[in-house]
Symmetry: C2
C-alpha cells in the first residue's frame, strides 16, 4: 500500500473542495429547483448562431483554428477585445477561463503566509485559489456606507501592517458582487485605489458580471482609474457561454509578462478553436445583440425574484436588490443556520448555497445566496414558494 | 513607478521562458523551413468531419455543451476513454491539455527543494513546470543499454538519498521520447517500476505520442505495469488536434482526488464543448480512421527525413531512428554549438530547437531536435538540404 500522503506537496493540505461543485456532483440540477449555481440560462445560448459561427471559423481559418496557438491568446481575439474595451494589445492576456485568471494572479503574487485582502463575503472559487497557495485571506466587512467602507479597510490593513504581514493584493468584484449582488460606487473604487497606492499592493478586479446590468448607470472600472496597479479579469462565461472556458486579463505589461511565462508551463495556450469562435461571435456584432436579449431576460428574472421574495418570505428575512449580475443575497435572523437547513431544503427539492461558504471567517451562517439566471420563470416561482414555505416553518 | 518585483512570488524567480515558444513569437512558421515545433500537420485535421461532428454535438446535447461542466470532465468523454483504454471511470480525469497534466501533477507533489527525476534530455515544457515550483530536476543519461540504464538511475537516486533529498516522482516519456525519439523497452519500464517501489516515489508517464507508431511493436504502458504508483498522461493534441487543449490523467483515485480539488481552483473544468466534440469524434470511430491516415502520412515523412539525412548530412553527424512520434535527434561533433549556430540557420530560413534546451544540466550543445510532422515533403526536402549545406560549411 503506497503512502500517498507522504508524497503530497504542502499546498495540498490547504486545498478545500467547493461545496457548490460538490452539490452538482450529488444532484441533477435539472431535477430540482436550483438557486445554487452561477449558471447562465441555456436560453441565452443561440445554438444556430453558434453553429453558423463555427462553420465560418472553419472556412475562414482552416487548420490554423485547430493548431497550437500563441500563449498570450490568438491575435484576432485580442484585437476584438482591444477595440471593445479600448485597451492596448500588449496589455491583454487571454486565459483559459477567468477562474484561471484568479489562480494565475495568485500564483505570481502570493507566497505562503502573504496576505490577500478581500471583501467578506467573497467569491468562493477565489478563496479556494488563495488558500491553495497558502496565502492568508483577510476579509473586510463588505458594504457599509462610504465612510465606514474606508475605515473598515484601513483598520484591517493597519492591523496587518502592525503584525508585520505582507499584503500582496486586494481581490474585489466591484460590479454585482458574488455573492452579495452589490456594486461599489465610484467613490468606493477610488478609495480602494488610494489605499493600494498608499500601502503598496495591487488590486485584482474581477468583473465577470459587469456587462449584465439591468438598471442604474455603469460605474467606471477600477482598472480605468489606475491601470498601472490593477489587474482586470474579464470572462466570456456570462456574456457568451461558460462551456468555452475563456477569459482575459488586462494589466501592466511587466505583470502580464510573468503571467505569460507562467501560462507556458500551465497549459501552453488557451483553447484555440474556442478563441476564434469568440472573436468571430464578438467581432461580428452577434455577441452584443445576444447580450441585449440576455439582459432583458435576466432583468425580468431579477424583478420576478424580488417580487416573489416580497410576497412569500416570512418576516425577518432581508435581501439585496442588485442592479445586475446573477445573485441575490438573503440574510435571515441570527439564529438561523443555512448549512444545517441545507439538507432539509435539498430533500424538499430546492438548492441554494449557504452564505457561510463565501465568508472568510466562518461567519454568515444566517445568509444564503440565490441565483436567478438559471431557471425558467415558472420554476423560479415554484422554487421560491417552496423555499419560503420551508423557511416559514423553521424560523 | 510601482515596484512590481517586490510583489512577485518566490516561484516567479524560477520561471523560465520556452525558447521554442519564443521562436514562434519571432518568426512566421509558414514563411520558413521549420523543424522547430512539435506541431501536427494541418493535413491531419479533417475540417469537414470536424464541422459535421460539431453540428452533431449541438443537435445532440444542445445548451448542455455550452454550460459549465464537471470538474473531472464530461462523463461521455470519460466513458469513451474508459472503453478505449480499459481504465475504470473513477481513474480518469480530463485535463485542459496534457501540459496541464504535467503541471498539476507537479503542483500536488513537489515542494520547493523536492527532487523530480527525469531522463536527460527531457521535454522542455515539463522542465519549465518542475522548476516553476522550485523543484530540483535531477537528470539521468537517457538511453544506454538496459544494464547501464538501471545503473545510471541507481547512481543518481543513491546520491540524492545520501544527500538527504526527497524524490517525489520520476517523469518519463517512454514512447518516442521528446526530444530523442527513442522508446523504452519493456525491461527498462519494469526497472523504473522496481526503482519507484524500492525508493518510494511515483512515476508520471507522459505518453502524448504513444499512438503515433510507424514501425515495430507497441510496448505496454508503465501504467499497465503498476497502476497504483503511475500517473499516466494522455493527449488529444497529436491524435485529434492541439487547438482543443484536451488531455487526460489515469491514476489512483486517492491521487486523482487531489488533482480534482486542485483543478476546481485552477479553472473549474476543461473546455466543455471541445470535450463533447472529442467524445463524439472518438466514439464514432472517426478518430481511429483519421489516426490511421495520420500514421501513414507521418511514416512517410519519417522515412523521407531519414533518407534525406543519410544523403545530405556531413560526416560526423549522427541521428536517432525513432519508431514513432514527431522528432529525430541529431548529435554533431563535440565542438559544434547548436545555440550559437541557431541565428545562422534562422537567417538562412531554417529553424530547429537547440538540444541543450532539453538538457537538465546545460550539456548537449552539440545536439539538435528536428520535427518531421509539420511540413510538407517538398518543404522537408528543401529544408534538410539547406540545413545540411549550412552544417557542412560550419563543421
Amino acid at each position: 500500500m503506497t503512502d500517498y500522503n507522504s508524497l503530497f506537496s504542502e499546498d495540498t493540505h490547504s486545498f478545500f473542495r467547493s461545496p457548490v461543485r460538490d452539490i452538482f456532483k450529488r444532484v441533477d440540477l435539472n431535477a430540482i429547483y436550483s438557486f445554487a449555481g452561477g449558471y447562465p440560462s441555456a436560453e441565452t445560448f443561440p445554438l444556430d448562431q453558434f453553429k453558423a459561427t463555427m462553420g465560418e471559423v472553419i472556412d475562414k481559418y482552416g487548420g490554423k483554428a485547430f493548431q497550437y496557438g500563441a500563449t498570450q491568446g490568438v491575435t484576432e481575439l485580442r484585437e476584438v477585445l482591444s477595440a471593445r474595451y479600448g485597451v492596448p494589445l500588449e496589455r491583454i492576456q487571454i486565459t483559459s477561463s477567468s477562474q484561471q485568471g484568479i489562480d494565475v494572479c495568485t500564483r505570481i503574487l502570493a507566497d505562503p503566509g502573504d496576505v490577500v485582502l478581500t471583501s467578506n463575503p467573497s467569491y468562493l472559487g477565489a478563496l479556494q485559489s488563495f488558500r491553495s497557495y497558502r496565502a492568508e485571506v483577510a476579509g473586510v466587512p463588505y458594504h457599509p456606507d462610504a465612510d465606514g467602507f474606508k475605515a473598515a479597510y484601513e483598520a484591517v490593513i493597519e492591523s496587518l501592517f502592525a503584525a508585520g504581514r505582507k499584503i500582496k493584493f486586494l481581490y474585489v468584484i466591484p460590479d454585482f458582487q458574488n455573492p452579495s449582488g452589490e456594486t461599489l460606487s465610484l467613490k468606493e473604487r477610488k478609495i480602494l485605489v488610494e489605499l493600494a497606492r498608499r500601502y503598496g499592493f495591487l488590486i485584482v478586479e474581477d468583473a465577470p458580471y459587469r456587462e449584465l446590468r439591468y438598471s442604474g448607470e455603469p460605474v467606471p472600472t477600477i482598472y480605468s482609474l489606475a491601470p498601472d496597479i490593477v489587474l482586470h479579469l474579464g470572462s466570456f462565461s456570462k456574456i457568451f457561454a461558460p462551456g468555452f472556458r475563456l477569459g482575459w486579463i488586462f494589466g501592466h505589461p511587466d505583470v502580464l509578462d510573468k503571467i505569460y511565462v507562467c501560462k507556458q508551463s500551465l497549459d501552453l495556450c488557451p483553447p484555440v478553436f474556442d478563441q476564434y469562435v469568440a472573436a468571430e461571435f464578438m467581432g461580428s456584432g452577434r455577441l452584443d445583440r445576444n447580450l441585449r436579449n440576455s439582459i432583458d431576460l435576466y432583468r425580468g428574472k431579477r424583478d420576478l425574484m424580488l417580487s416573489l421574495l416580497e410576497r412569500n418570505m416570512p418576516a425577518g428575512v432581508k435581501w439585496t436588490r442588485p442592479e445586475g449580475g446573477l445573485f441575490l443575497f438573503l440574510t435571515m435572523p441570527e439564529r438561523f443556520d443555512s448549512v444545517a437547513f441545507y439538507d432539509t431544503a435539498l430533500d424538499a427539492g430546492v438548492a441554494y448555497v449557504a452564505g457561510s461558504f463565501f465568508h472568510t471567517d466562518g461567519t454568515g451562517r444566517n445568509t444564503i445566496r440565490l441565483n436567478f439566471s438559471f431557471m425558467t420563470p415558472e420554476r423560479i416561482e415554484k422554487g421560491i414558494v417552496l423555499l419560503a414555505g420551508l423557511l416559514r416553518k423553521s424560523l
